[in-house]
């Protein structure tokens, strides 16, 4: 089939989706008049619709393990196996089929008899498992015997428990959280007991934790203790990488470190944590959540060292003491959701964090950190609340987008009867985010509301009110309500001037936007006045970036007026300011990067050298040659000539120039000789580098006032290349 035919078919298939069943055929007949050969196929396809075939693909493929005859061979009732008589099959588990059997000797009792498949290492197995028989604890099903028949059939006889698995038990008995936890503590005690004897269960899961009623008291009975370890030896293949256990309950390190099996107590603690998580409802008190989190931490060292520690923390929880697991972070609460439903939740969660981040930023501007913190906590509680409403597991719908969440927040906020200042601030934050999302109408509504509230609580010329006004002005501008925008911005400026301590940065901000507004409405003279005002204030401030913006804005206006010289002047100023932008920060970033690179790769790695070179150039440009040279000396021994030859040359050339600038001519000369020695043996692979070496060399010669030598070199350079770049460099040097 060709693509054209396919698209034709697809189009019809999609179009008919909207039609009633009895109209489809006529539609297809009509559509296929030009392509009668496709008619039959399309009708056949439509016939599939809603047929069983159509439903087949709605189920994801199933992977199934097909049980072989060997495995399936069930032993009939009344069969004798040594001193046991089979009663009935009760399940297939671990490594074989489990039966209830009657033991005739030495005592008459019912046992769970597990028949294990043939195994060459049976003798060793028997010896090892005997140890397990010593475990004697009310919460552990007793292992009576492990042995084999004359036919070499290996079997294990265990205490027979007539009970339900723990999850079903708790459900069928409608257990409360407290009851579940108390039962769970029994489990911890049992596992803890075995740990003290040096035995790890290795396969804790609901099926292996049974609950039965003893003297009317629910009692946990752990079965299959250590049996999963047998399964490991049971493999016919001598495969050292075998992992035993059930995937969902397997600690991550067991899966990841295949070479060494770490069967320590924390492995069982992990499984306990997962089981506890499955036993309890999704919404939990923070402390309890922290306990689960700690037990099922991905890193083994973060878990409780033993089930007893876990159980003790549950005690503390009961006594309303601080649990050891609790970490007072907001992120931790959300972590769980991510793990459960990362697809859906991630976006929303990231969004909430942004929101809170934005909020904290906003209030830190105006408030003492502590107050801001308290408010942020209120906000996070609010958002968490909201998030719970939106929690996909609760609402059963799959999609909750950031915007949904935002809308919910807005509705919830606006519905508050007596909003506080905090609420007003939060409204402002939400308005800002709506603005960024381009939902300007919504933004305007909520910011207006926020402003209205703030008037109740704050002084009229308060910074926050001004900020709201400016934002409103900007929204008006973008909504093309220029008159209102002008009014709001002018009012903002007026209010700022009334402030006890004038906020210059806000003032500049307002002027700048007023300038932009007048530019947009082509009132250029007014625009110039306001941009000049903005520049006047911004010159007093430290933010070069904003100053550059203002210069640029002014430049743009002059360009509109076709005043070329003024345009050039301000554009130039903008470039200068821009180029000074955030040096401190970039320096710190480069230093950090250098440290990280030299640690995680090594000093001679390409990335490390690149950062180092940039850093050296940075120092050089700032006239901080000594720092550049120090760094160079730190690096000089780590160059690997084979792999980073060009890099080395480039860096050395820079250093030579820096020495020259620093008037350390001797050193410059040494480096230069070194360079020439190197390129005499092997020229740099990149041609332009060759040229640069010469041009930088010439520069350094000029600095050393060795003009004759310099001009000699210049002619070499010219000869070396007819390249325009070289000529430019040459001309530059002439000047």
């Amino acid at each position: 089939m060709n693509s054209k035919d396919y698209q034709f078919i697809k189009k019809i298939l999609i179009e008919t989706q909207e039609l009633e069943a009895n109209k489809k055929q006529a539609y297809v007949a009509n559509a296929c008049r030009q392509k009668p050969d496709l008619y039959e196929s399309i009708i056949q396809m439509l016939a599939i619709e809603d047929s069983p075939d159509d439903l087949v693909m709605e189920t994801a493929p199933i992977t199934e393990h097909v049980v072989t005859d060997e495995e399936n061979k069930e032993i009939k009732a009344r069969t004798r196996i040594n001193q046991y008589t089979i009663i009935k099959k009760i399940g297939t588990g671990g490594m074989g089929i489990v039966y209830v059997a009657k033991q005739n000797f030495p005592a008459e009792r019912q046992v769970a008899l597990k028949l294990i498949q043939q195994n060459p290492k049976q003798q060793q197995l028997i010896a090892e498992t005997q140890i397990l028989a010593k475990l004697n604890h009310p919460n552990i099903a007793t292992l009576y015997e492990i042995d084999k028949t004359e036919n070499k059939q290996l079997y294990i006889a265990m205490e027979y428990i007539e009970g339900e698995d723990m999850i079903s038990w708790c459900k069928s008995h409608h257990y409360s959280i407290t009851q579940i936890l108390q039962l769970f503590q029994q489990l911890c005690t049992g596992i803890g007991f075995a740990h003290e004897k040096g035995i790890i269960h290795c396969d804790i899961k609901p099926n292996n934790v049974l609950v039965t009623s003893i003297d009317d008291k629910a009692t946990v009975k752990i079965i299959d203790f250590g049996i999963s370890q047998l399964a490991m030896h049971n493999s016919d293949k001598d495969d050292a990488y075998e992992i035993s256990g059930t995937p969902a309950y397997l600690a991550p390190e067991i899966l990841s470190q295949k070479e060494v099996l770490i069967n320590d107590t924390r492995r069982d603690v992990y499984a306990l944590g997962i089981l506890l998580k499955k036993l309890l409802p999704l919404q939990l008190p923070k402390d309890l959540q922290a306990i689960i989190d700690k037990a099922s931490a991905n890193k083994r060292e973060n878990r409780y060292p033993s089930p007893i520690g876990l159980s003790n923390d549950i005690d503390r929880y009961f006594n309303k003491q601080a649990v050891s697991a609790r970490k007072p972070t907001f992120g931790y609460l959300s972590g769980l959701f991510i793990r459960r439903r990362f697809m859906v939740v991630l976006v929303s969660l990231g969004f909430i964090l942004t929101l809170i981040g934005a909020y904290i930023n906003q209030s830190h501007l105006t408030k003492a950190a502590q107050t801001a913190q308290v408010e942020a906590e209120e906000i996070s509680a609010f958002m968490t609340d909201l998030f719970n409403v939106a929690n996909p597991e609760k609402s059963k719908t799959d999609a909750i987008t950031a915007v949904d969440l935002l809308n919910k927040a807005q509705i919830k906020l606006l519905a508050i009867e007596q909003p506080t200042l905090s609420d007003a601030r939060f409204m402002h934050t939400i308005g800002s985010i709506y603005t960024r999302l381009g939902k300007l109408d919504k933004a305007k509504t909520i910011i207006e509301k926020s402003l209205q509230l703030k008037h109740k609580y704050l002084n009229n010329s308060d910074r926050e009110i001004v900020q709201g006004l400016i934002q409103l002005g900007l929204l008006d501008k973008n909504l093309n309500d220029f008159a209102s925008a002008e009014k709001n911005l002018l009012l903002a400026i007026e209010l700022i001037k009334k402030q006890k301590k004038t906020d210059i940065s806000q003032l500049a901000y307002a002027h700048n936007h007023l300038g932009n507004l007048f530019f947009k409405t082509l009132q250029l003279e007014k625009a110039i006045i306001h941009h000049q005002a903005a520049i006047k204030y911004r010159l007093k401030l430290d933010d070069k970036k904003l100053l550059a913006d203002s210069y640029n804005n002014l430049g743009v206006i002059y360009r509109e007026q076709e005043d070329i010289s003024e345009t050039a002047r301000y554009m130039h100023l903008a470039i200068i300011e821009e180029s000074q932008y955030h040096f401190k920060k970039s320096e710190q970033l480069m230093i950090d990067a250098y440290k990280i690179f030299s640690k995680s790769y090594d000093a001679s790695h390409y990335n490390t050298l690149t950062v180092a070179t940039n850093l050296i150039r940075f120092y050089d440009k700032r006239m901080r040659q000594q720092e550049a040279l120090d760094l160079y000396e730190e690096l000089v021994d780590s160059f690997d000539e084979n792999t980073h030859y060009d890099k080395k040359l480039a860096l050395m050339t820079w250093v030579e120039l820096i020495y020259a600038k620093n008037k350390q001519y001797e050193k410059a000369k040494i480096v230069q000789q070194e360079i020439f020695k190197l390129i005499a043996q092997k020229p740099p692979t990149q041609k332009h580098l060759h040229l640069r070496i010469y041009t930088l060399y010439i520069q350094s010669l000029i600095l050393q006032e060795q003009f004759d030598l310099a001009s000699q070199q210049v002619s070499i350079v010219l000869e070396l290349s007819k390249n325009k770049l070289a000529k430019d460099n040459f001309l530059y040097l002439r000047v």
Binding site: L13, M45, E49, M57, P61, G245
Partner: protein, 189 residues
């Protein structure tokens, strides 16, 4: 997932983000190996008939591979779409093996082979579907991707829409049409 594989994948994912095509194949290779080992372990140990949706394996692999904080949304999307492609190969390979096995007399089978992992999908022949889907890929790549995500990856239409950055209703329309075409292809083969 072994530690090396984990690290490799993280590095590869970063590369993938930078648009390096060959890394996708490498990720698939690693994932495929890991997944096979992983599924093998589950199945060998249980020795009973257990059925589970193949996609659970992808999720399981995912949860074990990543710290939930370490990767951003794009990484996750990359991983997921890659894992689904792997899943598809995994399922189809096993289905092929199963078909081959039914033609070999049992006595000729090796000792372990008959207890191996087998793949089934109720009624649908995964192999035929895979063939038809490969044809569809040539005709309409995006539509084929929708089928791959939904059928082999078990993703909901909402998630598919998100990953492909199209509307949910588009996903649904395309999916409905694709199903009909694919089943028709399978029937006529």
């Amino acid at each position: 997932m072994s530690n090396t594989a984990k690290q490799e994948i993280t590095v590869l994912l970063k590369n993938l983000k930078e648009g390096n095509k060959s890394t996708q194949d490498e990720i698939m290779k690693i994932l495929y190996q890991e997944l096979r080992g992983f599924a093998g372990n589950i199945l060998k140990k249980e020795n009973q008939t257990i059925t589970f949706q193949a996609t659970e394996l992808v999720n399981e692999a995912y949860i074990r591979m990543f710290d939930s904080n370490q990767l951003d949304w794009t990484d996750r999307t990359h991983f997921l779409s890659t894992a689904i492609v792997v899943m598809r190969r995994f399922l189809v390979d096993h289905a092929r093996k199963k078909n081959a096995r039914s033609r070999i007399p049992k006595s000729a089978l090796g000792e372990f082979e008959d207890s191996a992992v087998l793949t089934q999908s109720f009624d649908a022949d995964v192999v035929l579907l895979d063939d038809a889907l490969t044809d569809l890929e040539k005709l309409d790549k995006r539509q084929a991707q929708i089928v791959e995500y939904r059928f082999f990856g078990g993703l909901t239409e909402t998630v598919v829409a998100k990953i492909l950055d199209i509307s949910i209703s588009t996903v649904n329309r395309e999916w409905k049409a694709a199903k009909l075409w694919l089943m028709h292809q399978i029937r006529n083969n």
